[in-house]
Symmetry: C2
Subunit: 210 residues, 2 copies
Amino acid sequence: MRMAELSRESGVAIATIKYYQREGLLPPGELTSPNQADYGPAHVRRLKLVRALTEVAGLSVAAVRDVLAAIDEPRTSLHDVLGSAQPGLPSASAQDVTEADREWAARRIDEVVAARGWRPPPRSVLVETLAGVLCAYRAVGHEWALDSLSTYAESADRVAAADIEALAQLRSAENIVEGAVVGTVLGDSLLAALRRMAHAEASRKRFDRT
Amino acid sequence: MRMAELSRESGVAIATIKYYQREGLLPPGELTSPNQADYGPAHVRRLKLVRALTEVAGLSVAAVRDVLAAIDEPRTSLHDVLGSAQPGLPSASAQDVTEADREWAARRIDEVVAARGWRPPPRSVLVETLAGVLCAYRAVGHEWALDSLSTYAESADRVAAADIEALAQLRSAENIVEGAVVGTVLGDSLLAALRRMAHAEASRKRFDRT
């Protein structure tokens, strides 16, 4: 199909498609003449994915590029995606914190990890990111909110187990890697939306007795 | 304190502080001479909050402005924050989907809401956002991942209940509203980081028997 049809099929404006191409988010079409390219269903699918990642998951163009790289990298295994590559991870890091903050975060993480039976590599991106998030609560003076940390970790465990079970039902290898990446990133947005709905209900029950 | 000390105390570069001021994220200091302003502890605190929201939660400047408005709006009650104002909510909306997609999402939401006993207003921002997220899974061809939807909703309920309990322990009204906003936004990042750690562990158990 031509660019105009690609735009109709994907619901993405032509100018935006050209921008995505310049940013490396969409492979070029097959040239049929010096200024005409042909696009296929894979382009439509990719555009819909880019759209979901930017508009729904709220990722930046750079973060989308990382997510697509994790999907397209031929050596990526499912276990790489879920165990080390961490698409769409919050960009927290504990770089500008004091030594005391760092030690405090490490202790909190040790507690959580031990309680859940997790075995993250000690200096992994995951551990550093979690430390960054914990330090952020402390930096803004809302450390009290971490009273719920063990509930968060338990819930993360339940959701992750359900994610992995659903993934394990998939058949094609390409689908599984893409599914792991997409499910991880969109799952953040899903949890965020559901949590706010649950907040509204819990707040009504707790604070508003009408 | 002067700008230079504000920068040291908050760990935010002077140029960045000036940018935040232009963008309305930081109130002006008290003018002590035509080109000199005086800043207090409230400015330090606000800068640390802006930093956590941009760097850790990954919010855009516009989203940070919304979050701060929710905190500063004098008429905001805790129930407003948790029940209707939804700072840092994913920007999903189901605007460009077909009628069939919209009906499908509405049915899935009805099921979840009924199972959890939630009572969201039918056309609220929360319902529209959740519909947008569900449609995004469908648009990218990973509808199967929603097999876990009820587990996500149950986990959201547990986390929200813990959030509200922790909030209810706070004393000062200002603290409670700020805490609700900050806890909601940083909680997304916390869940995201913990869920990836849980993924790594669940993947190891499920796919890697070594």
